[in-house]
């Protein structure tokens, strides 16, 4: 019986907890290693644009940064998927080991 209040509290807090994990973002900037030219930018843009979640991609070669704009802020690419897409394109997401 003494567990009932605890279960109730956990049950009430669970939706908030889930909400914080499902991070909403309409766009994000990521740093990409190995991106050095316009041709690299083309490959990255093309690889990311194949993903149904992605609406637009902006590449800044000089800053080694890529901006990903999502169609639905609730459906963004997670970091593992993003790292895989960039590896398939021949590059590496900064902070991830390819």
């Amino acid at each position: 019986m003494k567990w009932i209040p605890i279960i109730l509290i956990v049950g009430l807090l669970a939706p908030f907890s889930l909400n914080t994990h499902a991070e909403e973002k309409s766009s994000e900037w990521v740093k990409v290693k190995g991106m050095v030219c316009e041709v690299c930018a083309y490959g990255i843009r093309k690889s990311l644009m194949k993903e149904p979640e992605v609406q637009d991609v902006e590449v800044r070669i000089k800053e080694h940064k890529v901006k990903i704009v999502y169609k639905d802020p609730k459906k963004s690419l997670d970091r593992v998927k993003l790292a895989q897409i960039l590896e398939d394109a021949g590059y590496a997401l900064e902070g991830e080991k390819p």
């Binding site: 740093k31 290693k33 190995g34 991106m35 050095v36 030219c37 316009e38 041709v39 690299c40 930018a41 083309y42 490959g43 990255i44 093309k46 690889s47 194949k50 590449v59 800044r60 070669i61 000089k62 080694h64 590896e87 398939d88 394109a89 021949g90 590059y91 590496a92 900064e94 390819p98």
Partner: protein, 214 residues
């Protein structure tokens, strides 16, 4: 007929003596070509994984006096390219590639022969500097072996903040077997996925290279 097939594939796509990477992004197709007075090379490459690509290549030597065999010849091959090692850094990238293939060697006035082909590529590039080396070995069944050695260094005088026309200065050294080496300064331009290079060797031979990714 087979040679015509290779030639069409190569022209559709495009090179043997590269201005780009033998493996590009997964699902990407690269068309590449290089031509000058004595010879031309074209290739089409399809990258099916981040580490592997398949290429159809065509090479033509047109000047018997400049050929290591003393006669003109054509080489048509299909090759597998492998990205052996890549170093990623912020603002630079280094790569080592291997390639192996087989095809048909057609020396002028002689029957066609089976041809084995191998190559090694290494490059390092940043947003403003570029160094590349390439070695290709052709081993026909009966004719003398042919090798190509190429070294390139380049620099970009500016880096664009956004999309636009990029320019590079490239200096290329190239030699076939023990023939006289060629040194060619080139101007490289690229916009999005289209790259072309124009230059003239120190002996005055005009040279044109191109590369398209899609």
């Amino acid at each position: 007929m087979l040679r015509l097939g290779f030639f069409i594939l190569a022209l559709l796509g495009t090179s043997q003596i590269s201005v780009a990477h033998p493996v590009i992004f997964k699902g990407g197709i690269e068309l590449q070509g290089e031509t000058q007075k004595k010879d031309s090379a074209f290739s089409t490459t399809y990258t099916f994984s981040p580490y592997w690509a398949v290429a159809a290549q065509y090479y033509e030597m047109r000047e018997p006096s400049m050929s290591p065999l003393g006669r003109t010849f054509e080489a048509s091959t299909v090759q597998i390219n492998h990205l052996l090692k890549r170093w990623w850094n912020e603002g630079s990238q280094g790569n080592i590639y291997l390639g192996a293939g087989a095809g048909v060697f057609a020396p002028q006035g002689l029957p066609s022969e089976f041809l084995a082909r191998g190559e090694v590529n290494a490059d390092w590039e940043s947003t403003t500097l570029y160094v590349a080396a390439r070695y290709i070995y052709l081993h026909p069944d009966f004719s003398e072996d042919v090798d190509f050695k190429k070294l390139r260094v380049g620099f970009a005088p500016y880096v664009l903040e956004q999309e636009g026309l990029n320019s590079w200065f490239i200096l290329e050294w190239r030699q076939m077997n023990t023939e006289k080496a060629e040194v060619t300064p080139l101007l490289r331009f690229f916009f999005r996925s289209v790259l072309f290079e124009l230059g003239s060797s120190l002996d005055g031979d005009f040279k044109f290279n191109f590369m398209i990714h899609y």
